[in-house]
């Protein structure tokens, strides 16, 4: 065995390549089962009508036409983007501000960072339950505190106007720490020389931020943006746990719709169609970001 591997090590590039395959084969098998098979299967089944029964009718692009011509689908897609854009922009601004603030502290940074990190350790479904209790219109602590200051008594998840903003707020509590952690690591990795030079030249804090911090942090910002955006577009647990898509479907998003279509209404192939369309959208967005990133660094 040892003899053989030595001969491989000293051997040609081809032999090296063969060992390479040997090492990735288990990963290829598992990914083949868990990602290639489902993707191909969904693609094929999306061309059929199937509702868990024995009959499987070929409908061509029928399912796709059904969705794309349905105003309900576009509304759910709009709501998904409403959530994602809302949550990501708030989290990015707050997380960045927090990173800049914490970076200024002289002591206690480690403890504060650990404490701020805690929401990231909590499951989305538990985050939902926590906030359902806190935001309960009659028994919740938040509305009680608002009433102390004579504030309004919103029904939060219960009304169409406030439901989605409330979920965005909950996501902000949950995920801002991710933006914060990554950006503060980014801040600490920046070289100090340009800042010292700017200091000598008498640049203001705002100028330093605009012309040094921001451009140098751009690749990190872009990575955070991609990950948060994709993650938010795929939101499921938060909606499932707080509103279940209501009231009157005003917080329904693509993944909750897919869940209900497959497991409640039992339209299996339609749900797969929805996921194929959604995957294409997500891929397009990822590519867009990647292109943008390349042009910025080039």
């Amino acid at each position: 065995m040892i003899k053989r591997s030595i001969s491989i090590g000293e051997g040609t590039r081809q032999a090296k390549s063969r060992t390479g395959y040997l090492y990735v084969t288990p990963a290829l098998i598992i990914l083949g089962l868990t990602s290639v098979f489902p993707a191909v299967y969904s693609l094929i089944l999306s061309l059929f009508h199937w509702d868990w029964g024995i009959s499987l009718d070929f409908v061509g692009l029928g399912n796709y036409i059904l969705y794309l011509s349905d105003p309900k689908f576009w509304q759910v897609l709009r709501q998904t983007f409403y959530f994602a854009i809302g949550a990501v922009s708030v989290e990015l601004v707050l997380g960045f501000a927090l990173a800049l603030i914490i970076n200024r502290l002289r002591w206690g940074m480690g403890v504060i960072r650990t404490l701020l990190l805690l929401p990231l350790m909590v499951s989305g479904i538990i985050v939902s339950l926590i906030w359902k209790i806190l935001l309960d219109p009659t028994l919740g602590i938040v509305n009680y505190m608002l009433s102390l200051f004579g504030g309004p008594k919103p029904v939060w998840f219960g009304a169409q106007a406030t439901a989605m903003p409330s979920i965005i707020m909950v996501d902000t509590w949950w995920q801002t720490a991710f933006v914060f952690i990554v950006l503060s690591a980014g801040l600490r990795s920046l070289p100090t020389e340009p800042f010292e030079a700017a200091e000598v030249d008498g640049a203001s804090s705002l100028q330093k931020f605009r012309y040094l911090t921001l451009p140098m942090l751009r690749p990190v910002l872009l990575t955070v943006l991609i990950f948060r955006t994709i993650d938010c577009l795929k939101v499921f647990a938060l909606i499932f746990g707080t509103t279940g898509g209501g009231p009157a479907q005003s917080t329904e998003v693509i993944q909750t719709l897919a869940y209900r279509t497959a497991f409640k209404f039992l339209f299996l192939s339609r749900s797969m169609t929805l996921m194929v369309i959604f995957s294409v959208i997500i891929l397009a967005i990822s590519l867009l970001y990647l292109r943008f990133g390349e042009r910025q660094t080039a």
Binding site: M1, L116, M121, W131
Partner: protein, 276 residues
């Protein structure tokens, strides 16, 4: 106002703002904990009571509630299987992608990224159908395997970053001394990247423990995980805050212990890909 006072004021302001952030972060969890040790009457009191006699019966009750203990055990088992699988399969793959150039490596990288980005239900529904046929539906192993669609790309991506830091000279020296590739991986890489492997394992464990979407669809009873069990308390949510909050706190605790023990690794793992 001179520069020194100005700097002092900004520092004080920074502490005040950081303090507010910490309070806003911790208060919801703290409040949920207080509800979990209140009687039903105290929990529903309006205005809320801040001084009360704590009770622990909710914590006893949830373990007697159908399936919560089993779900807790399932989560532990699925987490262990999932993490082990991700490492056993991910470590050689990450090593090969760094040090053993092979054709199609670039495609594999893209494929990994895509698996990570695509929505859960694209994978869930076909796996549901498949699992119904081959008998893996509602099993711990089946669930841990499906999790690999996200865990494997994540683990390989992190491990590649850590492995890249191992000096190639060290590996070459070991090879000249007659170590096989596997021995090199075992004797050089493992000790040098142990913190990185630990970080990967911890983050993977946290991810599995908190996962809801896939578990909700692919388990029913026998392999139901703790997140699905907690979601179950939601059904009669408006009545039984005590069980809901106690169950939430119990399932958060293992993760908070992780966070306290391995904060450095968690931060390192979260930031590796973005900053490098």
């Amino acid at each position: 106002m001179n520069a020194r006072t100005k700097r002092r004021i900004t520092t004080i302001l920074a502490y005040v703002l950081a303090g507010i952030a910490v309070i806003l972060t911790l208060f919801p969890i703290f409040w949920i904990f207080t509800i979990s040790i209140k009687t039903q009457r105290d929990a529903f009191a309006m205005p809320p009571v801040f001084i009360f006699k704590p009770i622990w019966s909710n914590y006893i009750k949830i373990w007697q509630t159908a399936g919560f203990g089993a779900a807790f055990r399932n989560s532990i088992i699925v987490t262990i299987i999932g993490v082990v699988l991700a490492l056993v399969v991910g470590i050689p793959a990450a090593y090969a992608m760094n040090r053993l150039p092979f054709k199609g490596e670039k495609s594999l990288s893209i494929w990994l990224l895509l698996s990570y980005m695509l929505p859960e239900f694209l994978f869930i529904i076909p796996m549901y159908v498949l699992y119904q046929h081959i008998g893996l539906y509602d099993t711990q192993v089946g669930l841990a395997i499906v999790y690999q669609v996200f865990l494997l790309p994540f683990a390989i991506w992190l491990l590649r970053g850590f492995f890249a830091d191992v000096p190639i000279e060290l590996e070459e020296a070991a090879r000249i001394d007659g170590c096989s590739r596997l021995q090199t991986l075992y004797k050089i890489y493992f000790p040098l990247t142990a913190p990185g492997i630990a970080a990967t394992a911890i983050l993977a464990a946290i991810w599995i423990w908190n996962e809801l979407t896939i578990s909700l669809a692919l388990t029913f009873d026998a392999a139901r995980t703790v997140t699905v069990a907690v979601a179950g308390f939601r059904g009669y949510a408006s009545i039984d805050w005590g069980s809901m909050t106690a169950a939430s706190i119990v399932s958060i605790i293992p993760m908070f212990i992780f966070a306290a023990l391995a904060q450095k690794y968690i931060v390192e793992g979260l930031t590796l890909g973005a900053v490098k």
